[in-house]
Symmetry: C2
Subunit: 248 residues, 2 copies
């Protein structure tokens, strides 16, 4: 007898229904189980027709083990904020499946990541080449994070900073802003909290203000400008260079 199980690893986007993909919505609606961190489950609770299994932070390995186990005989959606392949749960699922040699039918459904949902709220801070760095040193040593920040600044990348701060590690944000200031001076950065969901707030702040205020939390993304970024009328625009080539 063939197993009818399936594991969807679902990117639900920033949290508002409208920015979810059609495929993500269908997967959740068709699942026997929807598994995820409470925060993400809350965003899709009304879509769920099956059972919900939710847990807290730091239970990722347990969640993945359970999802894989249930997916042997059930349709399961493991939900992840933003895109599951960008600071999400997808790599852990693959690592788990490979290391255990489990046979399970799975599919990753991409989603709108935080940088994509937050960008329009500032105008278009990224536009072209960019680097993406998380300040969380839970899984990556700080020395690597610092090196990446410095190289991205040397390369004149626009930088999207994920997970800039949490109650447990306020220090990393201060260190990161000081590194930006070393390379670029006390520039303005774009700060978006809770993009496209309840509690959305957008600010343009100097690096020094970011350090001295309590505004930034773990639900925030920070955009560090490159040398071409223009800040004007409360907006942050990195032009793509059309004006070098055409009359705009």
């Amino acid at each position: 007898m063939r197993s009818q199980g399936k594991l969807y690893i679902v990117g639900i986007g920033p949290g508002c229904r409208e920015l979810m993909t059609l495929k993500a919505k269908k997967a959740i609606e068709s699942s026997d189980y929807v598994i995820g961190h409470k925060r993400y489950v809350d965003f899709v609770r009304d879509l769920v027709k099956g059972k919900i299994i939710e847990s807290g932070m730091g239970r990722e390995v347990e969640r993945v083990r359970l999802a894989v186990e249930l997916a042997k005989n059930n349709v399961v959606s493991l939900v992840s904020g933003g895109d599951p392949c960008v600071y999400g749960i997808a790599p852990l699922v693959i690592e788990y499946i490979q290391s255990k040699g489990v046979s399970v039918d799975y599919e990753i459904i991409p989603g709108v990541s935080a940088l994509n949902s937050a960008s329009p709220l500032l105008g278009s801070p990224i536009s072209g080449d960019h680097a993406v760095v998380s300040l969380s040193d839970l899984l990556v040593p700080w020395e690597i994070i610092e090196r990446r920040l410095r190289k991205a600044l040397e390369g004149d990348f626009v930088i999207a900073i994920y997970n800039p701060s949490s109650r447990k590690r306020k220090g990393n944000l201060e260190k990161a802003m000081k590194i930006v200031m070393e390379h670029r001076g006390d520039v303005f950065v774009g700060v978006v909290k809770n993009a496209c969901r309840e509690g959305e707030e957008v600010r343009i702040m100097k690096c020094s203000e970011v350090i001295s205020s309590d505004f930034v939390d773990m639900s925030t993304i920070i955009f560090v400008p490159n040398s071409e970024t223009v800040i004007k009328n409360g907006m942050m625009l990195t032009p793509r260079g059309y004006s070098r080539k055409y009359e705009v």
Copy 2:
């Protein structure tokens, strides 16, 4: 009398309907005009209830001018592949509006960008920190592109390479692969063509093979691994570091 116009700058994702957001679909369906490059208009043609205005490559400024003009009195969707704020049309719209001082009600609708749609086809090549670089030197001088590639390699970023090649500029791909080889050796890279749409092809190739073959074109995205990326069973996985902290 108040104008009823609205300009949606719509990210349609990779091209398959299922990976479009609910909001993008609604915007296109509700528009009096849908404007875009023929390639992108083709993906949404069946959704359009209003008029279609399509044009070819290199007509971006003209397209934006027309969209802004029509949006003074009509609902207009200007469609962009992937996400409009990542190598898309959004920054040009903002630049145009700001430079002309035009008053128009506009909204950018984010989409699933190429790196997000292509990643799952390889497993999870990005997972964490990454740099995104386009090899197109139409709008950015090659010296800047080369510098960014080198800095991203020095920072041990996974690199997503957009617009790696076109008929007019085969040379940039070869130069880029040689830079990767200088820093990392003749490593395997993940190559995805036409992710999530007709003509989809996925390969894992050595840098030297990328140079010698004709596989890569402008509809391709290349993932350059970092020092932790594992290639196994035709998949590319950059672990997030859980195994440093937990037993996976």
